[in-house]
């Protein structure tokens, strides 16, 4: 009985540590991601809102007790129903920094080239999983998990699959 109440009490006391808020040494003000602005001939930094809100994901802070989203299997339902044209536009936003895409004169070379992607004959579901969360195939991958981390929606990934599968 005594042990039980102590256990419950310790969970209660520990609860604030599981907070989803960014840590106190993060550059966040009023819930917004801030970036520093240098003021010439001033001893103070000015902080202005950053163009993106980044407070939802784990940081490098020692106080950050939030977990990294774990690798997740995606179940893509057939048919793919992707819009290749929209997929191309998404690819030129999200993929092109690392992957070479046809028509790019400044190709990224961190990821594998996407030339002639169609020739690999990958199943749509496999390509979907690779974009949704590639850690399922390779835990060492440097590629972001666009689905698990909430960066791309289901239809976005379907459109990307349609575009990649269309690259002759």
């Amino acid at each position: 009985m005594r042990l039980g109440s102590f256990f419950i009490l310790s969970i209660f006391l520990a609860a604030p540590a599981w907070s989803v808020d960014p840590p106190s040494d993060a550059s966040v003000r009023g819930g917004k991601t801030m970036e520093p602005k240098i003021i010439v001939n001033s001893g103070r930094l000015e902080w202005v809102p950053h163009k993106r809100e980044l407070g939802a994901w784990p940081t490098l802070s020692y106080q950050d007790r939030r977990a990294t989203p774990e690798p997740q299997r995606a179940a893509m339902t057939a048919p793919t129903n992707g819009d290749a044209a929209r997929g191309k536009s998404l690819a030129w936003t999200w993929c092109i920094a690392c992957h070479t895409l046809p028509g790019d004169e400044w190709p990224g070379t961190v990821g594998s080239p996407m030339w002639h992607y169609k020739q690999y004959n990958h199943a749509d579901a496999l390509v979907y999983q690779q974009i949704f969360d590639p850690r399922v195939f390779n835990p060492h991958t440097v590629m972001p998990a666009y689905g698990t981390f909430g960066l791309l929606a289901d239809q976005d990934i379907r459109d990307l699959v349609a575009y990649l599968q269309s690259i002759e």
């Binding site: 969970i11 993060a26 970036e35 240098i38 980044l54 490098l60 977990a67 850690r135 440097v142």
Partner: protein, 300 residues
């Protein structure tokens, strides 16, 4: 030597209650690397050290080639790259003014760690090359910019770490160490070594929306392209800070970490935060033996 430790479960205590269970918080690490706390350690990582080890004899033909210039580790933008007056020179002047104001009684220099203190600037040589260091008064390892903030405070001035004036004083102090090799000891057991090890671990800790670690690019994809940028080595990259950049005017190393974090969609931390200082120790140790060079410029 690579030790596979990906997807290690990161143990963190979640409560100050001593007897509370310590739950695992799932965090991921990039493949761990060993690093030598000396600039030539790059020979085992990227090998580009061959091209930039001698600042006086850089091959400027490589600098003109966008496919190859990453091999110079951007050292071609160190002085005397731009012999015209640039923002770094204005900062140097500003730093001199501020130092004069802060050090009227010689106490600012004493606080910074100049033996004997005093108003003479001759003893400032070598100061920058020995930071970050353990500070008895702060009870922790601190970088030069944090110490400038701390010592200016004692003189009644606010010089926040990362602010223009703080970096200006830092550049001015560093100018007395120009040409002197960075020399911090992270090999001997103690707080500096512990800080270096924490920094090394942080360098491999994945974070942010893209789940990148520093090492995802700067250890395991050096020489590869991110469109127009080519990824460089982490070795030899701390000797020219604070740096003049048009975007930031003056950028301390901690502000560079802020920019790195934001560019990789990771919530940044505050300049002077513990993780950034540990990363500073790590990065500075990887510059051990490379000469201090200010005022330098960089595009990124």
């Amino acid at each position: 030597m690579t030790i596979s430790r990906i997807a290690l479960i990161f143990l963190l205590s979640f409560s100050t209650v001593a007897v509370a269970a310590q739950p695992f918080v799932y965090r991921e690490f990039d493949l761990f690397e060993q690093y030598e706390p000396y600039v030539s350690g790059d020979l085992k990582l990227s090998g580009s050290y061959e091209y930039w080890k001698d600042p006086a004899n850089l091959d400027y033909r490589i600098a003109g080639n966008p496919d190859e210039n990453w091999k110079l580790n951007w050292k071609f933008m160190d002085p005397p790259f731009n012999q015209a007056v640039h923002g770094g020179h204005f900062a140097l002047d500003r730093g001199e003014d501020l130092f004069g104001q802060l050090n009227i009684k010689g106490r600012f220099a004493t606080c910074l760690g100049v033996k004997g203190g005093g108003k003479s600037t001759s003893k400032l040589a070598g100061l920058r090359a020995g930071y970050p260091r353990w500070r008895d008064d702060l009870k922790r390892v601190a970088g030069l910019e944090e110490v400038i903030e701390h010592c200016a405070n004692k003189q009644g001035r606010v010089l926040q770490s990362g602010s223009y004036d703080n970096s200006a004083v830092s550049i001015y102090l560093a100018s007395f160490s120009n040409g002197m090799p960075i020399a911090i000891d992270v090999a001997r057991a103690g707080p500096m070594k512990e800080s270096f090890e924490r920094g090394r671990k942080l360098f491999h800790l994945k974070a942010g929306a893209f789940n990148f670690a520093c090492s995802s690019c700067h250890s395991h994809n050096i020489g590869r392209r991110l469109r127009g940028n080519i990824i460089t080595t982490p070795y030899g990259d701390a000797a020219h800070y604070p740096v003049y950049k048009t975007q930031y005017m003056l950028q301390s190393l901690h502000l560079r970490f802020v920019e790195c974090n934001l560019d990789t969609r990771t919530q940044s931390l505050l300049p002077g935060s513990r993780p950034y200082t540990d990363l500073e120790v790590f990065m500075t140790a990887l510059s051990n033996g490379y000469p201090v060079t200010v005022p330098a410029e960089r595009d990124w």
